[in-house]
């Protein structure tokens, strides 16, 4: 459905349609048949559409520019690996009022703390990773059931409807849910990367189900029939034919769900606790980049703000790269099905 097919302009005619008149003649015809008032209306309509696109492009551009301006100089090896410095309020001033000689004599380290996000990167990977391990297999199984088996169409429709509705549940409500069923039971020890992962998995599940289902639906039925005709069982057909065919599509759906989870702050706030040092265990307090950005943004401290900018740039870079990979996978999938 290219725009050219319906316009009078000589752009890429679709469906074998060959323009009868050359471009100049058609433009001429048009100028005579369309009255001035209609032409002005048409022009202004086009102008408005162009304007909306440009206005929508502004925030994305602004975010990228601001993040790079404020965060790029902070990113270095230490930022990715070092412990998160404690924000005390005076930290940005160091100890300027103490003399050089005194500092040297007592071996005082007065260099201002360097911003770093190591533990938050570990926490983000850990909580998102566990959430992905829970939600992606479950979601794909659910989608296979809905699309390949679903004995009663009505049941499948109901599940589909509720997974759509569940996508709209505010993420903070998911956080409160996991808080009441997990953290309250276990006390403050219940706050951990695992608890956060549970909340994130609840968010990811409906996304994975819906995108996987879309992808499975685009796998042509002929492939399934071929599998059955060769005497294979239904499960063989699904495992050896349908799933491998849909794999790039499933991957991209899964990545998009991961992107969503990695950037979520609200469900993590009261389920993960806090730490300033690396914690690679799923239990015990942990922290994520998103949570650090939130804390840093709320604080008026310069160091806290720097931490937030650096963490934001890191997070956005990761998220953009993952999104690009997902888009690439989708385009390869649709192309392979067309070819």
């Amino acid at each position: 459905m290219t725009a050219g097919a319906h316009s009078l302009e000589p752009t890429a005619p679709a469906g074998g349609f060959t323009p009868i008149l050359d471009a100049e003649t058609r433009r001429d015809v048009r100028r005579r048949t369309v009255s001035g008032r209609r032409r002005v209306f048409d022009r202004s309509g086009r102008f408005v559409l162009w304007a909306t696109v440009i206005v929508t492009a502004i925030p994305l551009t602004a975010i990228i520019v601001v993040l790079i301006a404020k965060g790029a100089h902070l990113l270095n090896w230490h930022f990715f690996t070092g412990d998160i410095p404690a924000v005390t309020g005076q930290s940005s001033q160091g100890c300027a009022d103490i003399s050089e000689a005194f500092r040297a004599k007592y071996g005082m380290d007065c260099s201002p703390p360097r911003p770093a996000m190591g533990p938050a990167i570990i926490g983000t990977l850990l909580s998102t990773g566990i959430a992905a391990l829970i939600a992606i297999p479950l979601g794909i199984l659910g989608a296979v059931y809905l699309n390949e088996f679903s004995p009663r169409a009505r049941l499948a429709r109901t599940i589909r409807f509720f997974s759509d509705v569940m996508t709209g549940v505010p993420s903070i409500v998911m956080g409160m849910f996991i808080y009441t069923v997990w953290v309250v039971r276990l006390g403050t020890d219940g706050r951990s990367a695992f608890a956060a992962a549970l909340a994130l998995a609840c968010l990811m599940l409906p996304i994975v189900v819906r995108t996987s289902e879309e992808m499975l639906r685009t796998v042509p039925d002929e492939l399934r029939h071929a599998g059955l005709a060769l005497g294979g069982r239904r499960w063989h057909g699904i495992v050896r034919i349908v799933l491998p065919t849909a794999l790039p599509g499933l991957t991209s759906g899964a990545i998009l769900a991961v992107v969503r989870a990695a950037g979520e702050t609200a469900p993590v706030l009261f389920t993960i606790g806090i730490t300033l040092t690396p914690n690679v265990s799923p239990t015990g307090g942990n922290t994520t980049l998103a949570q650090q950005i939130y804390n840093g943004a709320k604080s008026g401290d310069r160091l806290a703000n720097e931490l937030a900018w650096g963490a934001a740039l890191t997070l956005v870079l990761v998220v953009f790269i993952l999104t690009a990979i997902a888009r690439f996978a989708t385009s390869r999938f649709t192309r392979s099905l067309e070819g």
């Binding site: 725009a3 048409d42 975010i63 509705v165 569940m166 549940v169 702050t265 900018w309 956005v316």
Partner: protein, 276 residues
């Protein structure tokens, strides 16, 4: 999944029950929210949620419909790929980053801008700022569903309009928009659902002041935002339970909006498929 949905209702409501019983109907009609006096009236917070969402819709709806129409009808083929990527990336930017940029980078600019027309009470962190930030966050949702709805408009109607000699804008006005009104309404409601539940970005830029004010440039608060900023499971238990009660109210509102929106979208698509 049904289990999770039911679980959310049961566990959060039972947690919040003592506070809801303490406040009674005043929970919905009172507008004082204070942990010191243990008075919990959510009206100002509900007002804040509704106002920021409405501001967001007023900005986002024309933009999204415009972008969707542009992408399907006007876009040069070469530009379509980058345009879709742009919308995808906008959707991928985490909420907290929107909040961070809105608060630390644009606060002063917006504040001086508001003050030129809204007087000295205007603040860079306000209902309006929250609305603007949320608008750009829900744009991708509305745009992508609107694009699907427009793509489902029967080709025959559009071709008929072209054949009658309509200009492009006239095709949009006479053939595309009338057939897709119901679907676009649904898309807008889904956007509304997102806007109502949007938490972190709002928590950062809304100004954190519990008040009902007709001036949208004054600082306010919303349900999701106050939960994010003050819920920690410690301290005054009644306060915590009341916040959980807010979560229940928020959940109920967004579920209702989403259910209606889904029904509208599904129905309009089915009708168009029938017409094609």
């Amino acid at each position: 999944m049904l289990f999770v949905l039911v679980g959310i209702v049961v566990s959060t409501t039972s947690f919040a029950w003592p506070a809801l019983r303490h406040s009674g109907l005043g929970f919905f009609t009172g507008s004082t929210w204070s942990s010191k006096s243990n008075t919990y009236g959510a009206l100002a917070l509900i007002y804040g949620t509704v106002v920021t969402s409405l501001v967001a819709l007023v900005i986002a709806v024309p933009l999204s419909i415009g972008v969707a129409l542009f992408a399907t009808e006007l876009c040069p083929p070469r530009l379509r790929g980058p345009l879709v990527s742009m919308i995808d990336l906008l959707a991928a930017v985490p909420s907290v980053v929107f909040g961070l940029v809105g608060l630390l980078a644009f606060h002063d600019v917006l504040q001086s801008f508001y003050r030129t027309f809204a007087g000295p009470a205007a603040s860079g962190t306000s209902f309006l700022t929250a609305g603007i930030v949320v608008a750009f966050m829900i744009c991708p949702v509305i745009t992508s569903i609107t694009r699907d709805v427009i793509a489902a408009v029967p080709r025959s109607r559009i071709d008929a309009a072209w054949a009658l000699g309509a200009t492009r804008t006239e095709v949009v006005r006479t053939a595309i928009l009338p057939s897709s009104t119901a679907g676009i309404t649904g898309a807008v409601m889904l956007g509304l659902g997102r806007a109502l539940g949007e938490t972190i970005a709002v928590a950062l830029v809304v100004g954190s002041s519990v008040q009902i004010s007709a001036n949208v440039t004054e600082p306010g608060y919303s349900m999701a935002a106050i939960i994010a900023n003050t819920f920690n499971g410690e301290g005054n238990m009644m306060n915590q339970q009341a916040l959980m009660g807010l979560g229940v109210v928020l959940f109920a509102i967004t579920i209702a909006v989403n259910v209606v929106a889904r029904i509208v979208v599904d129905r309009s698509q089915k009708r168009l498929e029938g017409a094609a």
